[in-house]
Symmetry: C3
Subunit: 356 residues, 3 copies
Amino acid sequence: MNFTLSEIATALNAELQGDGSLRVTGAAEPGQAGEDDLALAMSPKWAEALQLGRARAALVWPGADWREMGLQGAIIAPRGRLAMAGLTQLLDAAGAESGIHPSAVVDASAEIGEGVFVGPLAVIGAGAVIGANSRIMEQASIGPGVRLGQGALIHSGARLGRNVVAGDRLIVQPNAVIGGDGFSFVTESESHVESARAELGQGKVSEEADPTWHRIHSLGSVILGDDVEIGACATIDAGTIRPTRVGNGSKIDNLVQVGHNCVIGDHCLLCGHVGLAGSVNIGDRSVLGGKVGVSDNLNIGADVVLTGGSIVLSNVPAGRVMMGYPATKIDSQVESYKALRRLPRLMRDLAASRKG
Amino acid sequence: MNFTLSEIATALNAELQGDGSLRVTGAAEPGQAGEDDLALAMSPKWAEALQLGRARAALVWPGADWREMGLQGAIIAPRGRLAMAGLTQLLDAAGAESGIHPSAVVDASAEIGEGVFVGPLAVIGAGAVIGANSRIMEQASIGPGVRLGQGALIHSGARLGRNVVAGDRLIVQPNAVIGGDGFSFVTESESHVESARAELGQGKVSEEADPTWHRIHSLGSVILGDDVEIGACATIDAGTIRPTRVGNGSKIDNLVQVGHNCVIGDHCLLCGHVGLAGSVNIGDRSVLGGKVGVSDNLNIGADVVLTGGSIVLSNVPAGRVMMGYPATKIDSQVESYKALRRLPRLMRDLAASRKG
Amino acid sequence: MNFTLSEIATALNAELQGDGSLRVTGAAEPGQAGEDDLALAMSPKWAEALQLGRARAALVWPGADWREMGLQGAIIAPRGRLAMAGLTQLLDAAGAESGIHPSAVVDASAEIGEGVFVGPLAVIGAGAVIGANSRIMEQASIGPGVRLGQGALIHSGARLGRNVVAGDRLIVQPNAVIGGDGFSFVTESESHVESARAELGQGKVSEEADPTWHRIHSLGSVILGDDVEIGACATIDAGTIRPTRVGNGSKIDNLVQVGHNCVIGDHCLLCGHVGLAGSVNIGDRSVLGGKVGVSDNLNIGADVVLTGGSIVLSNVPAGRVMMGYPATKIDSQVESYKALRRLPRLMRDLAASRKG
């Protein structure tokens, strides 16, 4: 990294104040910043640290009196995290490597686009199509029949199963698995799980006849839209007959499980350890906090927010904020929690008043 | 795929009605089915979609008036998902590849059975034994001393640690890890966790003497029965002295954690994100829903159903259906939830009656 | 394994009783022990099993009457699991392999210390530094700029991203990912998640303007202390600007997620499926049970114990034992649970008394 303040301000489309010719070679939190670092001080809580560090330039909040804090130049960031998106992209200039490493195993029938990099010991299967300027990093595997759009970045050890299709700019973090087989089994006659579901509340199951689980194979693969990102060790299972789908611009965090036949809309966020059982639908722009679980065959509407740890056992209408196990509207959930905290005392009071 | 209706009916051991000579080349949901697809319409909810699609043949529910819906032939599926198991298996005819890819690294002392396929860049360790007709896919690793029965399918990037033993027809999805080390550590003197456990309810811990964690190594490996399946990125830890065990016909979903020394019975299902701490026993035919957690050293009986998201903190007798955190019998759990929902109102009523 | 009782007692720094010249070639649980096994009987619950097995020597609890149980020699283990740590380490003598397998791809600029083993098909990137006596197992990847101290053990398929730094004796289980990108995205204007957070309890969100998620890149990598262990398929994300950190002696179990910018202290335990959102701080010696979730930007003090399944939504002071969702002090949590179980009956009683 080596940019002038002016160059950075232009890249971020942000207001520059002071000496635009100042040159920075790194970025740092204000207290750790050296003379040549751009200090990241997008809120007033950093004011004190700025004065302790040695930075001469900073990203600052609107209205910051940066001269007072000893700086010679500043870029104004009204929405700090958005500025961070632009800045970190600027700093993360990827190497211009391309070409196929001699240790990679690429099937003769695969189509490799222009400017593609295939790293050491990667495998690309029969009939796969890799869009221009994609990077398939070391030891990743691209199954037979996979089709990737332009500019994909498939990190080390990621696995894309047969016939997975993705739009442009797909990012897959290390060791993620897209297109593994769905978890779909059936017994010859009705199993005790099915009975338990049918008779909710009975609390007892009887032994079934033949407990052998017959496997339903997954033939539907996975279709991902444009600008999708999949986290490390996340797993997106193939659909049974129709594909499992993830819409444009949706981002899936580490260790998330998306079951077979799920359909996730556009611009969704699924945070770490989210688990969707089979055939769940998630509407556009919905956000699922960490560790959210959704039972199979449910519909979650658009613009829903599920707070971290919620377990969803029924459909959720569009626009709801939900919480808890089982997940309910956040306001009634919070009310219940508060009441529960006061319940032991209430019980003691009632017991006392009976005796009294 | 290219079968006549008669051939499919025979393979599924199902009743054929109408023109058995009709030839289909794929399967699809009724609305998306083309002329040469077998439409999958195993319940009356698909009746309308069947008429919209272009299929000439379908898998249908018993009693379906398929001629009325414009079909020329039908296969009757009294248990729809069971028919799906047979059909998808028929359609998923695996390639007949065999032989060892030249880029694979196979130890000279390994025994490779007849008809085995070893994919590109796979590794097979010293003394490993691979049963006939197994497939070790690209970049998988089979540790030293591993013994696999016949017909194993080990997907890309899966890791089988030293001395793992499996019966016939093992399936391991991509990037799963079988036989990693158990999470087992001990401090020199009693740690604050042990104190906290011993004094449940006190809510405060004191600092311990020497906080260094000493590692208990895992020497016991893992033994899997016949017909076991392990999901993508699932982890089955090695036992300490005796092996961790998974019984015949049990299926383990993606991202499941099975701790060291666990013993899982036959024909169990462990759904996505299930976590078993060390030394948990699970009886035969038990089903653990997604995200279920079980604390260490507990016994879960046979034929138990734990609903998704349950956290189990005590032993569970055979045949129980359990729910919640901490998990209790589903009927009392549901009763508690309902009462909790009504609690805020009860408190308001009681407060009002006191004032009144 | 082939040791005399005396040798084992010396290695464990433990008291020997009886015939120290007895030679054992394995270790086993008392009931399964053969003539040449050391039986592991560190508590009185094993007394009966000892008599059923064929062992002539055992690890026993203080005060055990081992002669009465038919043994010829015994090693006294006042703290059984600590003895197990020593014994299993003794039995787990790793092979003395070293050298670089010809199929590994090691960048010419990498520095490989003395006695290092690099397994088949492993990849080591540009400028990486591998400390003496480390073992990089088959198919693992070490990114560019990574620096590992002495004696690291990086198992098969583990991924260490660019610039990850670790102290001595790092252990990484198979398919773990250290230094993947953080899950950090921002919309151009305020998103509905931000509104939902700001207006907790409202339970409804409105559609936002431009739902596109802009990516904040992760430039900060990860710094791990000495004696850290990372479990199979665990994921430790890189920091944004400053590094994500794990302190000396901390152990992280399988399938754990540590978000970007987290700082974990020394001697912590994070059990299976723990999930930390971004920028969480965990104090020294804290223990997080299985499936614990911690929301972003929270501070967990030193010596905290979070019981399995807890979801933490606010800061936790040092020394607390917490439980539940949302996590609260364990004593008040247990009191609330008990009250909740009695609530349905209380409601019935109150309803009856109103009618009466």
